[in-house]
Structures are given as C-alpha cells and as structure tokens.
Amino acid sequence: MASMTMIQALNSALDVMMERDPNVLTFGEDVGYFGGVFKVTEHLQKKYGAKRCFDAPINECGIAGAAIGMAVYGLRPVIEIQFADYMYPAYDQLVSEAARIRYRSANDYTVPLTVRMPYGGGIYGGQTHSQSPEALFTHVAGLKTVIPATPYDAKGLLISAIEDDDPVVFLEPKRVYNGPFDGRRDRPVIPWSKHPASDVPEGYYKVPLGKANIVREGADLTILAYGTMVHVAVAAVEDSGIDAEVLDLRTLLPVDIDAIVASVCKTGRCVIVHEATRTSGYGAELSALVQEHCFYKLEAPIERVTGFDTPYPHALEWDYFPTPPRIIKAMRRAMEA
C-alpha cells in the first residue's frame, strides 16, 4: 500500500499493466518523453522504451484509428486524448468503428482499446479544457464509459478497462487529479494523502466495471454522482444536515441499475449531479431510469443539478460549476416536495 494521488494511481495502473502484458502500450500527444501534460504517463517511456510509450501527431482521429488497428492486431493499446474537449476529431473512429467492429464482424474482430481522457472544469481552462462529454459516449452502443472518483478506484478501474475485451472510454476527473476537491472554494483543498481512498496497493488489482459504490449511506434521499461531483455531493450532504445516500456510479455504461434502484426505492427521493450541460446529459438517462424503476416509490420529482446549457465560461466558471449550495438547494426541494 502507498498513498497515491489520482495521477500516481493512474500511472501505477499503466505501469503494472505494461509490466504484466507486453501487448499493452500507450501513446498520445506529449505522452512519451514528457510523460503527458498531466504526468499520467511519466517515467513509462524511460522504463519501457519509446516503442511502448510514445508521442503521437496532433491528430486524435489518427490516434484512435491507429489504436483500433493495433487492437485488431491483438495489442491492448491505451491512448490518451489530451483533453476530453479534443476527442471530437476521434469521435467517428470511436463511434463508427471501435464501438461497432465486434458487432458488424459477427465477433470476428474485437477492439480491446482503452481511451483515457481528462475531463471536467474548475481549473480555469475555459471552454475547451473543461468539458464533460460522457453522454456522447453513453449513447453509443458498443462502448463502455467509466469515470473514477478516487485514486483507489482510478487504478482498479483502469486495470479493468485495459483487460476488458471491448473499447472503454475512461474519463478522468482532472479537478481531483491532485486532491479531492469538493467544491468548497473557501476551504483549502486537502491532499489525497488525507483521504482513505488514496491508500492504493502498488501491484495488480481490479475494481470491476459496472459496479457502483455507496460512498455514504443515508435514509432520506439518494444522490447519484460520478467523478469530481462525488466529492462535491458528499460535501453538500455534510453541509445540508440531510441524511442522504451518495452513490458513486463509477461506470456509466453499463450502469449499476441494481444499486441505483435499491437506493432510490429505499429513500424515495433522488438528486442527480453532473458537471456536463444539462439537456441530454447523462443525468437525463439516470432520471429516466429512476422513474422507470422506482416510479411508485418516488415521493418527489427527481432533481438534476448540472452544468448549465452554455459553453464553460472561463471567468465565470465558479458560477457554472455545480457547487454544494446548488446541490443543497435541490436536496431541500426534494425533501420538501
């Protein structure tokens, strides 16, 4: 066990897998010598050589396309899209190709590919370094979508993603790379080392895909969240005095429906939190699922607390970011309904 930040945990996952399996390699923009703009691939080129960890041309379509070809060959590539905001040029290769190849070839060809991308705001990154495009992946049959919230989960989920025989989009909440930021800007961000989920085994382990985590048990209301918003939701619960249960979904697709249903049917109230724009965000799917499965148990309308339907505005990002007070307001509405 070691105390790791999320970056260190992700780096460790790659290291463990490259050590275990010569078919695992990683590439992307600035991923090689430099170790990635967020340092997730640091030391890997030095340790495993330039052929296993290298820089790519600035062409996300090519990064995804080449990785698909490698996966078809039999390798297990892990690619980095420098920011999720830059995944759009790769979108066709991911949606029309990676996601469909097993199906259209009737299981003849498969694409064991992992696509890492830092997502989310709160770092003054402006419109093109802050986006949360998860719903653009959850709509795509054939892709899995994973978002960790802690170092422990980040490593265990990334290893599961790499070992998965289908393409996995692995979104990394960059705002909590270095500490479990909880949206309370008036307090100093505590380092990961003070958080129990930063205790990370140095070797191989997995956190299974498709399983949510109950971060906090509660009786009165369920909060569904993932990534950065898990920490914000927990802070909101602390500040609200409401006995809410917080679910960290961890995998968005396939989502852990049993955990969701069990919790919401128990509490009868549900608040969904995400940072992505509201309309057609993943929260809409969660809302639809919850009302489909828990209709008769619901005592209040399901609330969505989300990013607004605007680009992420640079200087106004703290007005855009779903902070604890916004979540608490929704919780109160749900409790009072």
Partner: protein, 411 residues
C-alpha cells in the same frame, strides 16, 4: 450585381463530359509501357517524387510485357489471375442482377477494376492483412474464400456469416486477413496503419495493405493515416483506386484537377507510385515493390491505381444520369481482363477456346453457387435470424440493459 474588374470568382470543377456529350479523354498523355524505370526498393523517397506524375505500365496495347517493371510471373500464375478476374466479374454480374430481382437490398460491382484486387492479393503474402473498401471483393476471391458465403451474406440468409447485421457487401474474414468493411469511408486507412505499426511493434513479418477510392482520399482519415504511416514508417501499402468517379462526382471534386492522387504521397515524404490499374502485370509489380520495401523496414508506399469504374457506383444509382453512357468503352487504357487475356495469348499460353471455357466455368460456378445460396434463402425471409440475436456481440458479454431489451423484444 455588377462585378468589379478585380472581383474574385469562385471556381467549381466540372468534368469534360456529361450525359449527352461524347466521352472526352483527349489530351491525356501517358508514358509508354516499359518507359518508367524501376528504382531499388531502398531508394530514398525524395528520389521517387516524379513517379507521382507518371504512370507505370508494363503491358502495351498489343499484349506485350515491356520494361523493368515486368514481373517474372509464370504463365500458370497469369492464368490463375485471369480466372480469378473472370470469376469476380461473373460474380459481380450475377449479384447485381440478384439485387434487381429483389433478392438482396444492395450490391456494388468492381467492374473494370478487377486487376487491382486480384493482382495485388497475388503479390501479397497470404498472411498479410488487408483493410479494403467495399470494392475489393476480389481479395476474398483470390484468397479462395467460399463464394457461397459471400452470397449468403449478400442474401442475408441464415448462413450469412455476418448474421444479417451488415450490408450485403461489407464482408469480414479474419482467417483470410480481410478486415471487416466499414460503411464509413476511409476509416480503415488509419486502422491499417495502426495494424502495421502493431506488426512492427511485435517484430512480426506481416505487412498491411489498405484500399480507398480517390473520392475518399478527401476524408481526414486519409490524412491521419498518411501522417502516422510517414512518422512511424509503418509497413503498409496505401492504395488509392482512382476510378475517376465517386458517386456522381468526378475526380476533380476530390482534388484531382491540379495534380494526381499519387502526389498526395509526395506531401508526406511517402514514395508515390502511379500505375495503370488496368494492367495486371504493372499492378502486380508495383505491389511487389511496395511490399518488399515495407518488409525491409523502409516504410509505407502510396500507390495510385489509375482506372475507370465501368459499372454504376452501386445498385442505388444510374450512371447515365451523370456521365456519358459510353465513357467506359472509351477508356484509353482498355479492360483489365481483355488485356491480360491478350498477353497470355501473345505468350502462346492461352487460346480463345480456353478463354471461352474459362468464362463458362466462371459463370457455371457462380450459377451453381447461386442456387446453393438461394436454397438457404434470400433477403426478407422471415426467421432467417433469431430477432434476439441482434443483441449478441454488441459487447463480449450481454449487459443488463441489453438483456432487458432482448426480453422486451421476445415478449
């Protein structure tokens, strides 16, 4: 609007001839067969630029094979190539007709382009990996993939290897090194480069080859592929099949008015070979050159196959609506089957009666196979595929939401 004297003006390329016009290939000049030198496979790319603007030809119009590019191919191999081409053409004709008869939804012929897929497959190693577009069914034929399975797929019947999920012509066969064809143009090209990089990564000996139409070179995927291939010196052959037409738009709309498609390779420092795509021997020879180069760790080659799409784009269009009907006949570089036949005859290795017999044999093979496949079923037969099979292979394992949807459908 009165125009200023120095006003800018927008140029929209137009083909020389449209329906009603006479076909017009005048003013095109090609190097003579045998005229183009054959460089060493390790020649630096900078020395190969001019190949982008010429045309490598081996067969002259009388059937003689001339010059340094003439491959040393035994008559037996030539006859095999000819027979494959005859089979491919017969197959295409029948399947095109089958669509007209409502037995399938869609078909695409490779009429006029047979030399490319057949000669290239023969020049490659059987274990080399192919990432084709939808017009290289000849690869499967030359790799002796069961014709009946192609038909089963075209008919989407219950033996369809793609389980009714794919468009008729979008084959896949891993054991034959034939990658699952995509409906999205050019996506296979960076994948081929990635596969080739993986082969190099693994210290393998297999190379990759990929095909796309001249129209498809406009897609960004082509640029991605060429960039990656150039940067990592991937052992891959990128084949641009310039058959003059996309659907209704001529090659000028794809960027062929100001230069050749082979010249795209120049832009990336990738050796560009331009070849008469209707010349079986020339196609074979350039493929062999490019394959040897790739195997020697000297990286990618771009080949432009200069040819003509003699048939419609697909069963969904009528070329008489956008080009002169007799353009194919006017094509200055002839028909690939006729030209190889003539060559074999000049060699004294083939006779008219043999040719007629071979043609008949191809037809009969296709006919018999057609009967076999039709017995299994044609498109639209209920129950050919379990409806619930639609939920398989989306993922390796069926997740809960698809299980539930499968139950809903079953109910």
């Amino acid at each position: 609007m009165s125009r200023r004297s120095n006003a800018l003006d927008l140029h929209i390329p137009a083909p020389r001839a449209r329906p009603g016009d006479a076909p017009d290939f005048s003013g095109w000049s090609f190097p003579e067969p045998g005229e183009t030198p054959r460089p060493e496979i390790d020649a630096p790319a900078v020395e190969l630029r001019e190949f982008a603007y010429g045309l490598i030809r081996v067969l002259d119009m009388d059937g003689a094979a001339i010059g340094p590019w003439a491959p040393r191919l035994a008559p037996e191999a030539l006859r095999r190539g000819l027979k494959y081409m005859l089979l491919l053409r017969a197959f295409d004709e029948r399947m095109h007709r089958a669509q007209r008869q409502g037995k399938t939804s869609f078909y695409m012929q490779s009429h006029g382009e047979e030399a490319i897929s057949i000669a290239q497959t023969m020049a490659l190693d059987p274990s080399d990996m192919c990432f084709p577009s939808y017009r290289q069914q000849g690869i499967l034929i030359a790799r002796d993939y069961p014709l009946v399975d192609m038909m089963n797929q075209i008919y989407s019947n219950k033996h369809d290897p793609m389980k009714g999920r794919q468009l008729p012509v979008m084959y896949s066969s891993k054991k034959d090194g034939f990658f699952s064809i995509s409906g999205n143009l050019a996506t296979q090209v960076p994948q081929a480069v990635g596969w080739a990089m993986a082969s190099a990564y693994a210290g393998d000996v297999r190379i990759a080859s990929t095909w796309l139409g001249e129209g498809s070179t406009a897609e960004g995927d082509f640029h991605a592929a060429m960039t990656f291939a150039s940067v990592y010196r991937a052992p891959v052959i990128v084949n641009v099949v310039n058959n003059q037409w996309a659907i209704s738009s001529f090659q000028g709309i794809a960027g062929g008015e100001n230069t050749t498609f082979a010249a795209r390779g120049v832009g990336y420092g990738v050796p560009p070979l331009r070849v008469d795509g209707n010349d079986f021997l020339a196609v074979y020879a350039v493929t062999q050159w490019a394959a040897e180069r790739a195997r020697a760790n000297l990286g990618p080659t771009l080949i432009e196959h200069f040819t003509y799409r003699a048939g419609p784009h697909s069963t969904s269009d009528d070329p008489a609506r956008y080009r002169p009907t007799d353009e194919a006949r006017a094509w200055p570089l002839g028909d690939p089957i006729e030209r190889l036949k003539q060559h074999l005859m000049v060699l004294g290795e083939w006779r008219e009666d043999q040719h007629r017999a071979a043609q008949e044999e191809a037809l009969e093979t296709v006919r018999a196979t057609g009967r076999e496949a039709e017995k299994v079923g044609v498109l639209g037969v209920e129950g050919a595929h379990e409806a619930t099979s639609m939920f398989d292979d989306v993922y390796k394992d069926v997740p809960w939401h698809l299980r539930r949807q499968r139950e809903d459908l079953g109910a």
